[in-house]
Amino acid sequence: MSERNTEAKPEPGIRLTEQQQRARRARSIAIAISLGVLAALFYIVTLVKGPGLLERPL
């Protein structure tokens, strides 16, 4: 078997640098928090408005 076949081939696609990975992780966390806040906001406002929320004309 030749030495060539045992060499690991670089995976195709874009490889993120460490800085890019850190930035992406920070952005992902920020998006998750924002979505959490949005869900909590809808939940709390629904409680505040009570059943009247569903009674308005569409």
Partner: protein, 311 residues
């Protein structure tokens, strides 16, 4: 067969860059004036609903800021004051700013419409549209009256706050609109007097660039002479108490004194810088006094009290 696909460089933009894109200082002034519009409204608002309205207005203002930076990236790169912003500094791509701005604009308007009321949401949408479409895209590069007309966008938040609480508009928030509207030209022209080279380099036709410093100083004085009495109007019309009236008269007088000094300044920009700095304090003081005045005359209803929730 291998296929080469052109793609953008992965982003290194951090959360801080996106926050900077939202112009947090402008956002804080927008939130503050909207809060005053909301509090002075005759209809008490449930604290959760008030928070929701202010959050949507803040996010909407951030969206407008992001879309402004998306469109003005070329101008920002040529001006010393704005060259370090995320796009000209190369930390964030224009497309990212556009996507971010559009997403925030959509969410802020839809959430305000769903959770608070549709009229306030339409006003917020109009404000974002006016700031981006009319001011940023159309007027800013076209006419020295850019900030006069564009100032309407910055003056609308107290009206949105009032609309969030009441579902409509009245004379009171329109007076607040007029105060911010008339305040904007002397505020920005004072800044542009000592940043004229920057604006000229970027090709932005600000008044000192197009009409010269002398004409700008005249215009600052004229607008301030109109602004000072309008600033007192909420007291004269009986919307605010004597505390506000005294503060508005004194602060308006100080604005006029500064504008006269700007008018008479032959060399240097000391008076212009003082005018710019004090104008921020002036607007903050007027709106803070309205808030204090309302708190003094009608303290906030207790949290367990009855609030209309706009269903």
């Amino acid at each position: 067969m291998s296929v080469t696909v052109a793609c953008a460089e992965p982003s290194v933009a951090g959360v801080g860059d996106y926050i900077e894109l939202m112009k947090p200082r402008v956002m804080s002034l927008v939130v503050f004036t909207a809060l005053v519009g909301l509090v002075v409204a005759p209809v008490p608002m449930h604290p959760v609903m008030a928070f929701t309205a202010l959050l949507c207005i803040a996010v909407g203002a951030g969206a407008a800021g992001a879309l402004n930076m998306w469109y003005d990236a070329d101008i920002d790169a040529r001006m010393a004051r704005t060259a370090a912003r995320p796009i000209p500094a190369g930390r964030l791509a224009r497309g990212e700013a556009l996507a971010f701005g559009l997403t925030l604009a959509g969410f802020s308007v839809v959430v305000l419409g769903l959770l608070v009321n549709v009229f306030a949401a339409l006003l917020l949408a109009a404000t974002i549209g006016f700031y981006v479409g009319i001011y940023t895209v159309w007027l800013k590069r076209l006419t020295p009256q850019n900030i006069v007309i564009g100032g309407a966008a910055g003056a609308l938040p107290p009206v949105i706050g009032w609309a969030a609480a009441t579902g409509g508009v009245a004379i009171e928030p329109l007076v607040l609109f007029l105060i911010v509207f008339l305040w904007t030209p002397p505020h920005f022209w004072a800044l542009s007097l000592y940043r004229a080279d920057d604006y000229a380099r970027a090709g932005v036709p600000m008044l000192p660039v197009v009409a010269g410093a002398a004409e700008t100083r005249r215009q600052i004085l004229r607008y301030t002479l109109v602004l000072a009495p309008v600033g007192v109007a909420p007291w004269l019309f009986g919307y605010a108490g004597a505390l506000y009236g005294i503060a508005a008269v004194l602060a308006g007088g100080a604005m006029i004194v500064l504008a006269v000094r700007v008018r008479g300044e032959a060399r240097g920009h000391t008076a212009s810088k003082q005018m710019f700095g004090f104008s921020i304090l002036y607007l903050f003081l007027l709106f803070a006094m309205l808030l204090v005045d309302r708190m003094a005359t009608a303290p906030l209803a207790p949290l367990w009290g009855h609030f209309p929730t706009g269903t």
